[in-house]
Amino acid sequence: MATVTTANGHASEHHEVGSNYLNARKGVLSWLFTLDHKRIGVMYLAGTLFFFMIGGILALLVRTELLTPAGDLFQGDTYNRVFTLHGAIMVFIFIIPSVPAALGNFVLPLMLGTKDVAFPRINLLSFWIWMLGTAFLLYSIIAGSVDTGWTFYTPYSSDPQVGSQAGSAIIWALMGVFILGFSSILTGVNFITTVHKMRAPGMTWTKMPLFIWGIYATAVIQVLATPVLAITLLLLTIERTLGIGIFDPALGGDPVLFQHFFWFYSHPAVYIMILPGMAIISELVTVHSKKNIFGYKPIAYSSMAIAIISFLVWGHHMFTSGQSELASTVFSALTFAVAVPTAIKVFSWVATLYKGSISLNTPMLYCLSFLFLFTIGGLTGLFCSTLATDIHIHDTYFVVAHFHYVMMGGTVIAFLGGLHHWWPKMTGRWYNENWGRFAAALVFIGFNVTFFSQFVLGSQGMPRRYHTYHSASPDLKAIFTKWHQVSTVGSYILAAGLFITLFYLLHSLFRGKKVAEKNPWGAKSLEWLTETPPIEHNFHEEPVCLHGPYDYDEISPDGQGAGADEDDDSPLYLDKKTEAKKAEEPKAEEKKAEEKKAEEPKAEEKKAEEKKAEEKKAEEPKAEAKKAEAKKAEETKAEEKKAEAKAEAKSDDEADKDKK
């Protein structure tokens, strides 16, 4: 245990018993004008998850439309507007701010042992700017709704005569994304300064939890890549209104130049999305298998390596775009370079499980689900970076499946894992473990069914962003229809899993069992030293970091992994549930009431979002993973060999599940 010594003579303000960051101040204004990184984190969580639900519903509409070859659900441009909104909301409003700003804001200062981020006011400004940007983007729906795709390619987006007739909606959307980018920059600046200047005494760079490394690498990309998006959107806005002649061929510009400008930001942006996910996984893998991370330095340095190399590879989005052959070759080679650090990370996580004591609670299930899905996502990236195959699968559903496996299978699943992991610390309440596992199973199956079928669709030639596919030749249309229907059914299962998560997490907010101990998971990073939920100034006395973040008590030189010590049969993770409860206090209700009042209805569906997050995160225990695999095995005959190998492991897990 880290010995807590008073670092300096700071008189810690007197705290009456039971007051924490949630109930220390009352009223809506105390939330909207808070400087407390924890409250800002919770507000970000509420806002981003709400829009995750909106984006998810739009995705369901898209999937429902594609059930049938003809365009019967939507007419004309509506489908294009729906998939553009799905893309824009998911990318700019949800996934970029979600992990760094929501979980990062809450956990980073606690993990570093400081009272708050370096610039609390800028942190609040970043949230306000996020809300302003979101308002702009939402207004663009009313002003005609953009139909250019979230990539805004010119000349479709810049030339009203030949391109989009969405009129001023595009300007609103561009400005909205411009503002959201600025919010992302401010978060990045804040985190880099905090990590550099405000670590607890004794916490050297190699004693920091890997979560901090991941968020730090993300912040570096945020600061260096987002401004280029800002200038691109600004130039596009000027191009569309006053005209420059840089992107729009009618005025002498070059559309491929716009793609260079756009992807220079957008590829690092996809690493802004995945690196925080990886950061969470590095934490979950160690805490829930009670074992030191395998290869701390390789993982930390590969985060930084990914952050740097991500700036060199954007051209692999443009292999078929008329980019010169030399450039495509250079980009393809460099894209392979970025695959190596990613591979190192995945191998290290799996190696961490070796001789550990792996508890199959909900966060760990999401972590294992991440390893499964991200491995597929990562490996299918190889098809997209190899020049010859990318020509065939570019802009088809293969690419759609690839980036959903990485972004949703990766970041969102990791985000839900992290949310469940820190949920007790954030809210002081327990969620229902069994519901958690069941929802996780549903999400895992639904996800695989939805997106694995899209791999097949894509390699068979189904182009992306298609409202209808009835013009294809008969046999091709038959294949497309079959796999689209499979994918749509999968998306319903996925949505069901996510909504269940939403419900049981919201339920846990009201009537969840109070978390009695400070450190339910037995983790070693500093955020578990303070109360649950943390007091307003995080620590009574400033903690001193005397050991690495993963020195668990269970680790012993001769330990052979789980079961080595047979004397005590009550498994660690069960202890918590059966522990005596603290006196019920209506803290959670009060908080929710304020929030409901505090935020305008759109942003204030905090509970709705959390529920949606839980439902998305609910992951199935290993057995379900194997069942999903088995099911996939029928589709992919090539994997029968794997299915049998799993069969016998499944049976005893079955028994294990029934026993619980």
């Binding site: 300096n8 003579g9 005569q161 030949v162 550099h196 260096l224 280029v228 061929p249 009618a250 005025l251 002498g252 070059d254 491929v256 130049l257 260079h260 220079f264 700036f311 060199l312 954007w314 051209g315 008329g322 980019q323 010169s324 052959e325 030399l326 450039a327 250079v330 980009f331």
Partner: protein, 255 residues
Amino acid sequence: MSAHAHDSSEPHVLPLKIYFQVYGALLVLTGATVGVSLLDLGPNAIYIAMLVAVIKAGFVVGYFMHLRYDTRFLSLVFFGSLIFLVIFFAFTFIDLTSRDRIDQNQANFTLRKHQDIQEESTGSVTVGIKRFRSGANPPVLPKAPEVKKAPKPAAGTAAGTGAAAGTGAAAGTGAAAGTGAAAGTGTAAGTGADPGTGTGAGTSEPAGGGTAAGTGSVAGSASAAPGSGSAAPAAKAKAPAKKAPAKKAPAKKAH
């Protein structure tokens, strides 16, 4: 470490003299850049101007912004951002300068501006998209403010320029030092053709049998445009040997 506000953080103050020296240097350098631009240095004027600008920037960043006396990490932050800028510039130029290695046609930067489309006598496909507001004919420009010696067109300085501080070598990477610039829009006055990237404003619409009105012709082997039948240069497997095109009459500037 109960740090009093005073002791260790005494601000590092430069003597007054340095400020004025730096100020003087900046003024002198500004004068130098203007002077350099007046006398005609041809294509490498851009590099000199960039060099001087980089020196001036060095002074401002080093002394006025105290970067010379601050912790090394701050310099890393500043120059780090420049590195990413250079990456952006370099890779964009890798693409731009090598677009025609495999197939000449891909290089023709045919600009489909309104008047060129009008002139297309034999467009095979309906191209009537109006781009500019024609409206009343626009006011004719007064003569250029001061009649300087007509800048020697010389070899078009196709070398890309001006990245922010530090990238002076504006030629970017593998930039084909494009020669002559095809001038004139539609007046087809310019004759020099830039094998690097066709910069002519003329279009060479692939009209069946139509003669390309535009000038974006590719010097050397290819005919004016892919338009005329199968004259399109069959590109050899590896990048065709690119001869430096003989400079024909210098591109006249149509006034």
